[in-house]
C-alpha cells in the first residue's frame, strides 16, 4: 500500500510539473509551437543552424551563437535579422563549445578547454575572426560536464564554470555501491567557478582563482546587475537509485536531488560531492557516497541554495531580465532554460521548458512558473524524453525581446510582448 501511495504521489508531482503552466496562468497562447503567457509571441528566427548553445545579442540586434559542434568548421555563427528571419552572415572559430558573452567591445567565447576574445568594431561585428586573443588555456576537459560557460562582471573579470568530470566523486565513477573519495581531489581543478582577468593573455590555472567550489556542473549562469553578484544554476548529481538501490527507490531517485540556483560570493562552497539538496524537504542531505542514508543532514557550513527546482531537468541557461518590453513583474527576475531530464527513467521525464523566477531586491521571491512550454512537442514527448526541441541558451536584446536557442534542431526563437 505504501509503495502504491508513493508512486501515486510521484505521478501527481510529474503531472503537476507538466501542467503547472496551465494551472498558474489561465490564458495562454501558442505560437511557433511554444505555449506562452497571453500577449507573448514566439517566432522561429532561424532553424537547422547546428547545435545552438549559448547566445549573445549586440545592441544593434546582431546575434552571436555558439555551436557545441562546428558546422563547416565554424563554431560561432553571426546572424542578422530582417523581416522576422535571421540570416547567417558569417561564421568563424573552428572549435565547438557553449560559452559566449559580449562585454565592452569584445566577444568572449569558450571551447571546452580555452577562452578566446574577439575585438569588435563600432557595430559590434568581429574585426578579425581568424585572430582571436587567447585569454585562458588548459582548462580540464574529460568528457563529462565538459562545457565552459562564462560571464563577465563590471570589474574586468571572467567567471568560467569548470564542471566535475565525475558524477559524485566515487572511487569508481557511477559504479553501484562505490564510495566517495575522501577529500574529493577533483575540486582542486574542477567542480567550481574559476575567475580570470578579462584582458590578460594565455592565463592558466595558476593565473586564475577558484572563486567558488562544490558545484558539480554549471551550464546556466549570469551576472546580477542589481546585486553586482554572480548567480549560477547547478546540475545536480545523477543515479541515487542505480548506485545505492538499498537506500533509494526508483521513484525517490527520479525526484531527487533538486536542481539549485546559487548566489555566489568569493570563497563559497556549495558542498558537492558531499551533499545534495532534497527537493521536497528543502534540506541539504549528506551524500550516500560519504555515509548518508537519505536522511542525515549535511554539514550546515555549506552554502544554502537561493532557490531549488525539480530534479534532473538540467538548467542550461540563466538570464536576468533587465528589459522594459515585458510586463513589470518580469523586470530583474530570472529566466531559466531547462534542457529536460534523462535521469528520471523509467518514471516520466520532465523539463524542456523555460521558467520564470520572480526576484525582489535581488533575491528570488515567490514561486517559479513555466514561462515557455512545449519545446518537446507534446506531454507524451516530454514524458518519454523524445523531445522535438530542447531549450539551452538565453539572451535579451536592447529592446527587451527574449531569445532562446534549441540545441536539438538548431532553432533560435525570439519572444516578444504585445500590449
Amino acid at each position: 500500500m505504501k509503495i502504491f501511495y508513493r508512486v501515486g504521489i510521484n505521478i501527481a508531482i510529474a503531472f503537476s510539473l507538466i501542467t503547472s503552466s496551465v494551472a498558474q496562468t489561465a490564458v495562454k497562447t501558442k505560437t511557433a509551437g511554444l505555449i506562452l503567457p497571453a500577449k507573448f509571441k514566439a517566432v522561429v528566427l532561424a532553424e537547422n543552424i547546428g547545435r545552438a548553445r549559448h547566445i549573445a545579442i549586440t545592441p544593434q540586434g546582431g546575434i552571436y551563437v555558439r555551436l557545441s559542434k562546428p558546422v563547416d568548421k565554424k563554431g560561432t555563427l553571426f546572424l542578422q535579422e530582417s523581416n522576422g528571419k535571421a540570416v547567417i552572415k558569417n561564421g568563424f572559430g573552428n572549435y565547438g563549445g557553449t560559452g559566449i558573452y559580449l562585454k565592452d567591445g569584445y566577444l568572449y567565447s569558450s571551447s571546452n578547454q580555452e577562452i578566446f576574445r574577439y575585438k569588435l568594431n563600432a557595430n559590434n561585428e568581429v574585426i578579425d575572426p581568424d585572430a582571436p586573443e587567447k585569454i585562458v588555456t588548459g582548462l580540464i576537459e574529460r568528457g563529462q560536464h565538459e562545457t565552459k560557460s562564462l560571464v563577465l562582471d563590471n570589474a574586468g573579470n571572467i567567471y568560467v564554470n569548470i564542471g566535475a568530470y565525475k558524477n559524485s566523486c566515487q572511487q569508481k565513477d557511477r559504479q553501484k555501491g562505490s564510495m566517495g573519495i575522501p577529500g574529493c581531489p577533483i575540486l582542486d581543478s574542477a567542480g567550481g567557478i574559476w575567475m580570470f582577468k578579462a584582458d590578460k593573455l594565455n592565463q592558466s590555472y595558476s593565473d586564475g582563482e577558484r572563486y567558488a567550489t562544490g558545484l558539480r556542473n554549471v551550464v546556466g549562469l549570469d551576472w546580477n546587475q542589481q546585486d553586482n553578484q554572480l548567480f549560477v544554476m547547478q546540475h545536480g548529481r545523477d543515479q541515487l537509485h542505480d548506485i545505492f538501490p538499498d537506500l533509494y527507490t526508483v521513484q525517490q531517485s527520479a525526484v531527487n536531488p533538486a536542481e539549485c540556483m546559487y548566489a555566489l560570493k568569493k570563497g563559497d562552497n556549495a558542498g558537492w560531492p558531499y551533499l545534495y539538496y532534497d527537493y521536497a524537504q528543502h534540506k541539504k542531505i549528506l551524500a550516500p557516497e560519504y555515509g548518508g542514508d537519505g536522511k542525515i543532514e549535511a554539514d550546515s557550513k555549506y552554502l544554502e541554495p537561493a532557490a531549488a527546482y525539480p530534479a534532473h531537468i538540467a538548467p542550461n541557461g540563466l538570464l536576468f531580465y533587465t528589459g522594459n518590453q515585458f510586463p513589470e513583474k518580469y523586470k530583474d527576475g530570472a529566466f531559466i532554460a531547462f534542457h529536460g531530464s534523462w535521469n528520471r527513467a523509467p518514471e516520466p521525464q520532465a523539463g524542456y521548458f523555460v521558467v520564470f523566477q520572480p526576484f525582489k531586491d535581488g533575491k528570488p521571491s515567490g514561486e517559479w512558473e513555466v514561462f515557455a512550454d512545449n519545446f518537446s512537442g507534446s506531454p507524451q514527448k516530454t514524458a518519454s524524453g523524445r523531445a522535438d526541441h530542447r531549450p539551452c541558451g538565453l539572451a535579451q536584446s536592447a529592446d527587451g525581446s527574449l531569445y532562446i536557442t534549441d540545441d536539438s534542431k538548431g532553432i533560435i526563437y525570439k519572444i516578444t510582448y504585445n500590449k
Partner: protein
Amino acid sequence: MLKNYLLMGGAVFLLVMAAAGQNTQPVKVQQPSVKTSIAAGKLVYTQYCLSCHMTDGGGVQNMNPPLIKTSFINGDKFKLVSVVLNGMSRQEIDGETYNNVMAPFNFLTDKEIADVLTYVRNSFGNKKSAVTVADVKKVRAKK
C-alpha cells in the same frame, strides 16, 4: 477457510492460464532457450540498463549511446560483452560522441550478461544472434 478458497482459486487460475498458453502457442520461431534468455534479459535490462539507455533503447543525445541498430550492437558480440564487463566512456559511435561514463557491470553473472545482451540484440528493432554464457566466460577469462 478463506485462505483455502484463495489458494484453490489461484490454482484453478494457473491451470486455466497454462491451458490457454498451450492453445495459443505459436509455431516455433525461435529456439526456446533464446526466447527464455530474451525474457530473462529484459528483467536485467530494466534493473541495470534502462535508467541510461531508456525504455526504448534510444539512449540520450550526447550522453548515453542508443542501442538501436548501431554498429556496436550489430557488431562483434565479444566486444559488447567486454563493454558490459569493463564499462565505457567517450566512445564515438557512428559519428556521434557520448560523454557519460558507463561503469563496469562485472558484478553481473555470466548468465545475466548473456541474457541482457541477447535481449538487446533482439529488441528495439535489432535482430542479431544470441550471446551465450560460454561467450561471456570466454571474454571474462581474457581479463
